[in-house]
């Protein structure tokens, strides 16, 4: 199996807890014989790096340096994520089983890749805009929510880390409950659960 993970943070760029989680997950995936690429953002450490653990990391920077907000920064950076993923796809003779996307930042790239190349994606939810900015409903927040909505709509499967989050995704975005798997990193079956989810998603869009 060949998987690409999209995460906007990955060591040494650590913003929250996601960087360490992706590090642990990708290391475990490689141990379980999953070929794993991580596409992430870094302004100064760009270029492909072969990690000691066997995880292949591609770091991209934003070609547009001046921005007026997180959205313009994110939506331009997505083209580089898309370019990196397409490059991995073609180098792997188009044999990519799925993309695992963490949070909304790189949903746009995953959506285009799915529609263009039939590579399905999993939307792994860390947090939602409704929780991050509970009282804000400005056009800025609405735009992020619309990207989250697009991710839930286009994803083949959604993974949430708790039953609570699963219910929140159902409540806020009306996602069918059976589309969402709860995978908690705190259980012994964590890696096996992730692999099981990947197996149901792999096999292309035809099985949808």
């Amino acid at each position: 199996m060949h998987v690409i993970i999209f995460s906007w943070e990955y060591p040494p760029r650590v913003v929250g807890h996601l960087a360490e989680y992706i590090n642990a997950l990708s290391t475990q995936l490689v141990k379980n014989k999953v070929e794993t690429h991580v596409v992430t953002y870094h302004d100064f450490l760009t270029g492909a790096v072969e990690e000691a653990s066997g995880v292949k990391v591609v770091r991209v920077a934003n070609p547009v340096r001046t921005h007026i907000g997180v959205l313009t920064w994110d939506l331009t950076l997505n083209q580089e994520v898309e370019r990196a993923a397409a490059s991995i796809y073609y180098q792997a003779n188009k044999q990519i089983d799925l993309i695992d996307v963490y949070d909304w930042h790189f949903i746009p790239a995953a959506v285009t890749l799915k529609n263009a190349l039939d590579v399905p994606f999993v939307y792994s939810v860390e947090s939602l805009e409704s929780h991050r900015s509970p009282t804000a409903d400005t056009p800025y927040n609405m735009s992020i929510k619309s990207i989250e909505w697009l991710g839930f709509y286009e994803a083949k499967k959604v993974s949430a880390k708790s039953e609570w989050m699963r219910n929140e995704v159902v409540r806020i975005y009306n996602v069918p409950k059976e589309k969402i798997e709860v995978i908690s990193p705190n259980t012994n079956s964590w890696v096996k659960d992730v692999l099981d989810l990947y197996k149901t998603v792999a096999g292309g869009l035809s099985s949808q």
Partner: protein, 402 residues
Amino acid sequence: MKHKLSVMMFSWEFPPRVIGGISPHVFFLSKSLAKNGVKVYVVTCDFPGAPAHEVIDGVDVYRIDSYKNPAPDFATWVYLMNLNMQKEAAAIANKLAGKIDVFHAHDWLVATAGIGLKHVFRKPLLVTIHSTEMGRRDGLHTNTEKMIHETEAWLTYEAWRVICCSDYMVSHVRWAFGLPEDKLVMVPNGVNPQVYESIEKEDLKSFRAKFALPEEKIVLYVGRLVYEKGIHILINAVPKVLEKVDAKFIIVGSGYMKEQLLNIVRSMKLEHKVLFLGFVDDETLLKLQKCADVSVVPSLFEPFGIVALEAMAAKSPVVVSDTGGLSEIVDHDLTGVKVYPNNPDSLAWGIAKILLDENYKSHIRENAYRKVQEKYDWEKIAQQTKQIYEAVLGEYSKSFWA
């Protein structure tokens, strides 16, 4: 390539959605390319009442959901719209199973969609730069302007060829983005003289009488009422023209300078000589261009100057300021009159020169019309564009992407 040469074009406007000059440009270019054996798919923004998919003279037009939630600002909306455009275009191209040979983007407004699909499908991207942020704003003053400029630079970097519509724009774009000379190619913008022929034999006397007295010559301005178009120069030239010849000045278009211009006209007590029409429908515009004794384009910044070309196609003699693309369209004393930019005296001199000399006027008209047919014909422009596609595909076939 076993199938017909196919191009997917991205444009944020396409008729009936008309905001600026890109809409008619892509409309005529795509239709003329189709006539010349190129399969064209246009992906553009939706418009109330226009179908999501239709075929116009062999051109497949797809109108995508242009992101209608409130966006924080115009530039952010552009990138959000591009997300939708890219998603829908990806699905369309995927269904065509490798039949798209090249992507062609028009201006930064579709930059991220074009760049993204180039890499995802590994097909060459071409771009037409109609205008630059630097030129529109006369420099880069805000972060929004800098961001747009950098997006334009990125788009030209990713493009296999950069097409500009005038030699002036070629050198401007080359300088603005530091591009190598062989990446740039000039293909003029076109005009469609046939649309004026349809009203050739119509009697426009009663139409003309609605706007001007029989003894008044008609001086026509068509364009936005904004600083860069130099409309204030024309208004300041009005009394200077009237000293020499009786005329009615008809101003078509709207913009933020309107009140200011009306005040100048009032203060000169010339309300009866200057008529502000605002926006008019296509038919009225065609007839006005046909009736005009002279058309004036007094721009201070003009990447191309399509209005001058339309006037020439309508056989209305033109007076233009000697700047940008206008300098190339008009040859002084041959296909029009060139005057000093930002100079009401020079402009008044040029207008009077045409209005006072019938022989000179018809000499200009005939030459201008011939030049339009020879150089700015959509058929020829489509052939040139097709040759560029073929040249790019020839180079592409030797690359590791092929």
